[in-house]
């Protein structure tokens, strides 16, 4: 579904992505793991076309995404820090997004919207919202248009336990529908029962990309956090 071949991105002297190649298929639920500043967000933003790679290409359903924009209607994106126009209300944001993306073939998925109770906050201005409520808005927008691909950048950061449980349940529900899900998170324990594949990045380089099962048998650990710690220890020595 998404084929990334040899992309490189530099911000000044900093190499954010260094010759990264990844192939992702539908029905996979991929955890994108790596230390801070390892290029995870840059990789996600490259897939979304928000960052233009210096070198290499990204194919979406075998079509190059450079100079293309229509492919983005298949993607739901939840950013790490949701940035929204301060003086628009939640209702206006949703109306705007619906009027931009609405097309008759799409059925709206407003499950999260009601479960998070955002329908009671429609008149609240984005500027007055707490970080957690912003995250809820981001999450709802990502799922709203029933996309084939979900890209979630630190989805549960800032959410209260109840909301993050609702979100996790929603993610596993979408996973059963055969969607491609890409998650980055630092809280590895919550990824345990979700992910099928692991991508590990460090210093802008792809360290490995393999099924979770393979990682389990390789390290002899059942928990993702322990498995990753095991790998990191090995590479440190």
């Amino acid at each position: 579904m998404i084929t990334i071949s040899n992309i490189t991105k530099k911000f000044g002297k900093l190499v954010a992505l260094d010759d990264v190649s990844i192939n992702c298929n539908s029905t996979e639920c991929i955890a994108l793991i790596g230390p801070n500043g390892s290029g995870k967000t840059t990789l996600i933003k490259s897939i979304l076309g928000m960052v233009v790679p210096d070198d290499g290409s990204i194919l979406f359903n075998n079509k190059n995404i450079a100079h293309d924009w229509k492919y983005r209607k298949h993607i739901g994106y939840m950013p790490q820090i949701g940035k929204y126009p301060e003086n628009m209300s939640i209702g206006q944001i949703f109306d705007m997004m619906k009027s931009i993306r609405k097309d008759d073939s799409i059925s709206l998925d407003e499950e999260l919207f009601t479960e998070f109770g955002l329908d009671k906050l429609l008149d609240k201005r984005m500027g007055t919202l707490s970080g957690g409520t912003r995250q809820k808005v981001s999450a709802c927008l990502a799922f709203l248009f029933n996309p084939d691909i979900l890209i979630l950048d630190e989805p549960t950061a800032g959410l209260d336990p109840l909301a993050s449980e609702i979100l996790k349940e929603k993610i596993s529900k979408e996973k059963t529908k055969g969607k491609l899900i890409l998650i980055t998170s630092h809280i590895l324990s919550e990824l345990d029962d979700l992910v099928t594949h692991i991508i590990f990045m460090q210093d802008g380089k792809l360290k490995f990309h393999k099924p979770f099962e393979a990682l389990r048998s390789e390290t002899g650990e059942q928990k993702l956090s322990k498995a990753i710690a095991n790998i990191m220890l090995k590479t440190a020595h």
């Binding site: 076309g49 928000m50 993607i75 003086n87 931009i100």
Partner: protein, 255 residues
Amino acid sequence: MKKIIKFVIIDILRNKIVLAYTIFLLITSLSVFNLEDNTAKGLLSLLNLILFIVPLVSIIFSTIYIYNSSEFIELLVSQPLERKNIWLSLFFGLAGSMVLAFFIGAGIPILIYEASSTGIMMLIIGCIITIIFVAIAFLTTVNTRDKAKGIGTAILLWLYFALLFDGLVLFILFQFSDYPLEKVVVFISALNPIDLGRILILLRLDVSALMGYTGAVFKDFFGTSLGMAVAFITLLLWCIIPVGWSVIKFKKKDL
């Protein structure tokens, strides 16, 4: 594209600065026309005011507005929208509302008091100057990520076009006064949209005699219909080139 323009315009119209700008223009133009018993004189006073205030407000407000919309832009870029359309919608929304503010603030008094061809010419030039400075603001913001630096650049650009440019031209004229520079000056004036607008209106007000021999050269060139056409095409280029350039830059920008 229409939808984004709509959202931008609604957002700007809610902004009190544009309203204040409209009222300011309205009050000044009404008072200028009421103070002078001769409407042609009123038009001349208004011209100097417009050529000073309109570029300033257009460029500064647009620059700040685009920086403040960075979240809006980021949100839209991750959606199935073409970057070119996002940027151009923002431009049309911003330029449209600034032109509307100018039209209500200065255009209506002009149409009431001096609905002659000169008055209408001034109205058109005011609108074009507004669009040009909004366009320059777009080029400034796409090039600088830092807000303070971007706004500083915008102020410097306005200073350059409104004040420094004339000083530089005068300096050149004095330094090279032994040479026949009149034709060159016609060309140089095309490098500054404010000057071009001023010349076009002054010629219609028949005060070009005050400008001496250079004024005569201007009249020879810009007084003809060919000269007028060239002047307007130049002004249009001043709109199109900065916007076009900023679109090319925005397409490659990392957000």
